[in-house]
Each structure stands twice: as C-alpha cells, then as structure tokens.
C-alpha cells in the first residue's frame, strides 16, 4: 500500500493519475480482502467454495429443496429455515440420504444418497454462503486416533442413553428413534454432534470440544472395527432380544431334548 501511494505521488501531474490511484487502491484492498476471506473459507471448508459452486448449489437448492425450505431457505411450516445451519448440516443430511426427504413422518429416514459428492459440496457451499454456520470437519478432525478410553467414557455419558452403549441405536417417543451407529461414517458422526439433526440435541464445542468429539469417534470406529468380545451379540439390543432368544431358542432346545429323553425308542 505504502509503495503504491508513493508511486501515485510521483504521477500527481498526469491526467489519469487520480483514476489510476483509485483503481490501484481498490484493486489492492479488494484483492486483499478477497484473499483474506478465501483464506478463512479455506480453513473452515476443505473444498474452497467458488462462486460457480455456490451458483450450482443455488440451482440444486431451488430444484430440490426450496419446495419445503422456501425459495430463500427461510423455512416453511413443513421444514425449518436453513439460514445459519452451515455446511456441516447440509453435508450430514444430504450425504446420509436423509434429505431430500421422501415422506413426512415422525423421523426422516436414511436412504441411498440422491446427490454425488460434487453436488453435495455445491449445496453445502450455497447454504454456508447464506449465513455463517458450522463448517464441514476436516479429515484430521474426524481421524480415529483420539483417546479410546476417554471417548468411551464421554460416549456413555452423553450419547449412550439414546444410541445404546454399543452404538446399536434405540427407540425414542412416538415413533422416533436414535439410529444405530454401527455403519455411520466418522464425518457424519462429527457433523451430527455439531449440528444436532432432527431431535438429536446439539453438542457444541463448549460441551464436547473438538478433541472430545474426536475421542468419541475413535471409540465408535473401534466398536465398528472390532467384533463383540462376548460371543453372539444379537445386535447388542440388550435384555429384550437376549431374553427372547433364551426363552424361545434355548428353552425350546431344552424341551426338545427332554421330550427325546422320555420318548421310547422305536
């Protein structure tokens, strides 16, 4: 800036000097600002959102989401506003196939993702451009190299009451449920904690710090990668499934053997 100003002083008497100075000043400050904001964006978002990406996202939004979320993402009586939900929320909802929703009901179901990665990134960039919100976590943030024991402790305190101690999921009220986490990807877990999708509470960074979240992911990925220590897990659903198995299969077997013991040979 300083050197340019000095340069402009030398060309004081030239006719286009003023215009040149203004143009140069605008270029430097505007360029610098653009560079700075891009740098911030790049930090938040692994894929730098370009204007063309945002435009593509906007088009996809108008074609696929606006009917429920409103033409300006302001929300309708059928769906919440998306202003301020951030890229993380979009990435979670769309990449897991929850959005676009297939039908209204107690809970939006998981299905095969409708859009590819490029389209999801574009929609996320569009929603993120509306208002600041949680960004998509980087790969390093969701790597499973955290503290496994601590992650288990945090999971049991904050998550296990709904998602089951083994991450097998569980029922909530009136047809809602906490999904199983046995197939869930690490990024999806992080985004769910950060954004609190549907009826799940929000676990912001003051509640569970990024390190806490990483530890929890480490624990869940460990559970996914290691088979049950105790034999037949019966999907880890707990005493109801285990009781049903014992009463029907095991007791049935015992009765069959007893009948055989008492029956006379042919």
């Amino acid at each position: 800036m300083a050197s340019l100003n000095r340069k402009s002083m030398f060309s004081r008497r030239r006719p286009f000097a003023a215009a040149l100075v203004i143009a140069a000043g605008l270029l430097v400050t505007g360029g610098g600002y653009a560079a700075a904001t891009t740098a911030v964006k790049a930090q938040q978002d692994p894929t730098v959102a370009s204007q063309s990406q945002i435009d593509l996202g906007h088009k996809l939004f108008l074609a696929n989401c606006a009917s429920c979320h409103g033409k300006n993402a302001e929300g309708t009586k059928n769906a919440p506003t998306l202003i301020g939900v951030g890229a993380a929320s979009v990435d979670f909802q769309v990449s897991s196939g929850r959005m676009p929703a297939q039908a209204s009901g107690p809970q939006v179901q998981v299905k095969e993702a409708v859009f590819n990665d490029k389209e999801i990134a574009a929609m996320a960039a569009y929603v993120a451009s509306l208002a600041p919100g949680p960004a998509i976590p980087t790969d390093a943030m969701v790597a499973n190299n955290g503290d496994l024991t601590r992650g288990g402790q945090l999971f049991r305190t904050n998550c296990a009451m709904c998602h089951n101690a083994a991450g097998a999921g569980g029922a909530l009220t009136q047809g809602k449920y906490a999904p199983a986490l046995t197939e869930t990807g690490a990024r999806e877990m992080y985004e769910a904690m950060l954004t609190g999708p549907q009826n799940m509470p929000v676990f912001n960074d003051a509640n569970l710090s990024p390190k806490d979240k990483k530890d929890i992911i480490t624990y869940l990925v460990y559970l996914q990668q290691h088979p049950s220590v105790g034999g037949l897990s019966l999907d880890n659903l707990g005493p109801v499934a285990e009781g049903l198995f014992v009463w029907i299969a095991v007791l049935g077997g015992i009765i069959a053997i007893t009948v055989w013991l008492g029956a006379k040979s042919n």
Binding site: T157, M161, C162, T173, N199, F203, P227, V229, K264
Partner: protein, 356 residues
Amino acid sequence: MSDKKGLVPASHDSEGFEHDYSAGLAAISADKIADPGLEPHRVRMTDKSVKHEKRAARQVFYWFMASIVGSVFSIVAYFAFPISEDLGTVHNNTFFMGLGIALGMFGIGFGAVHWAKTLMPDAEVAEPRHQTRGAEDVRARAVEIVNLANSESGFSRRKLIRRSLYGALAMFPLPALVLFKDMTTDADPQETLRHTMWTAGTRLALDPTGTPIKAADLTIGSVFHVIPEGLMPEGAHKDDYLEQKAKAAVLLVRVDPTEINSQKELDWGYDGIVAYSKICTHVGCPVALYEQHTHHLLCPCHQSTFDLANDCAVIFGPATRALPQLQITVDAEGYLVAKGDFSEPVGPSFWERTAK
C-alpha cells in the same frame, strides 16, 4: 395290587365305611378309576432286526467319536485362535473352544442316552411302593427311645436348664442382625435421601471432566450432562463419589424461552437454560433421552416421558411425579451456579417422603 380287599382292616368294613383304606391314610373313593395297568409291551426295532441293532450301535459309536472330535477341535481352536492384545480376539477363541467343548459333552450325553434307549434291555419293571406307616413294633420302639432320652437327659424335669437353653437359642441369631446394620450408612437414611451436594453457589460442571459451564456455552438445543463442581472420583468425594453422583446428576438444556410453557420453569432457569434432576422419579434410572424439538425427555428403563417445556411433568409412563428442577443463576464470572439444593427429594419415592 389288584386285590385291595386284603389290605383293608376288617373293623372298618364292619363299621360301614365307604372308603377303602389301603396303604397309608389316604381315602380312596369307592368309584375310583380302575388302574389301567401297564401298556402292552412294544418290541423295539433294535430287538426285532439285527440290521437296526447294528445301525443303533453305529450311531452310538458316531456320537462318541463326535465327542472326541469336539474335544480335539477345542484344543486346536485354543491354539488356532490365540488371544492377543486386541480384545476382539477373545471372541473367536471362546466361540470355537466353546463349540468344541459343547460337542464333546453333548456327544457323550447323546451317545449314552441313545445306547440306553436302543440297545440296553427293554423290559418294563414295576417297583411297588411300600406302606408309609411303620410297623407297630417299630413305632412303639421309637416312642420308647424318645421317652428314654427324656428321662435320661432330664429335659422335662430340669426346668431351669431347659429354659436357659431356650434363652440361648433365642439370643444366638442376634449378632447377625447387628451385622446387617453395617449394610446402611450411619447417617439417617431419610436425610441422605432428602439432600444432595448442591448448595447455593455450587457451579454446574460437565460430567465427567468437571469443567465449569458458562451460560454462554449453551446454544439452543444443547444438552449438557452436569455434576456439581468438585465431584470427582479422586477429590474430596473419593469415598462417596458414586453415591453423591447418583443423587446430584443434572441434565442442563437450553430451550428457546418462548417455547417454555411454565413461568416457574422460566424463573428457576436462566434465559431458557433449565436444569432438571436426571434421576427418574419412578425407580431412579438416569432420564436423559432428550428430543430437542418435541422437548420430550424419555427414561430408557420404563419409557416414562417428561415434558421439558412444562416443568418436566409426566406425560407418559409409570412415573408419577415431575422431575425436580434445580434453581440456577449465573455468578459474577458468567458461570452457571445453583441457587441451592433441590426443593424436594430427587429420585423415586420412599416411605417417609410426603407426597407434594
């Protein structure tokens, strides 16, 4: 036993009794269903044909061989699926070893039973029961022995020592009752149940890290699992950490204040941040399944559902009382603090708890 008549004392007949007194004193009605006797003997296939007999013998042999295979397999499995540092390896080790041991044991059992059923002698044998009443001379002798013991020991005659024995017998279980006392704390159990660790000014801290929480930390829809500050497994409450935690655990939620339907709930909270006891009023499970849009708070044990937007009133399930709310405010540094203990006992009812 077909000739019951012979067993009936003659005197009874002459007195016109309608009952047939056979063995023992059980009255048997005169029109009782006749003893069907044994089924006609059915000869087994293994007794009729050598081919079947040989096949049964082979089957028994196979069962015992299967047992041997199972036992050997179990030993092989122990070495083939070693337990390493990775706990997951326990699964295959115990599963395949157990499968082998099961086959080893069931093989012996099934073989032995099959052997007995198909190859061992097949003849029905009736083993008649003898009378339960002893012979007259045996009964008289028993009475004689009891009387002799009484006269020799002087049990009836020596009243003083007999009664002192009764006293000793009555006293000796009492030390066990004193031991039971150790199963409770010295403190008055009522007081223990009525009060928790929360006092005016106690900061709300995160479970399990113990980090104090600022009001600004909670975004709308957040759920924090909270313990009183200072409640750590290694701190001042080393000895009663779990007891204190079981009473003082709190669920802290931030709700949009416009969605709260109770003025009391708003007043006892701070800007939509409300703190409720996590201990179910039914049987004390931790109630923590919070749905951020319906504001339903569900207990995982028996599905008691509380409405967090309305004083945590019970809207479903076996619980009968709302969850107690903890009055909170913020201190000078912006940390959330309790205004005091809960205004009523937390958790399930107890005898002395007066209904509110």
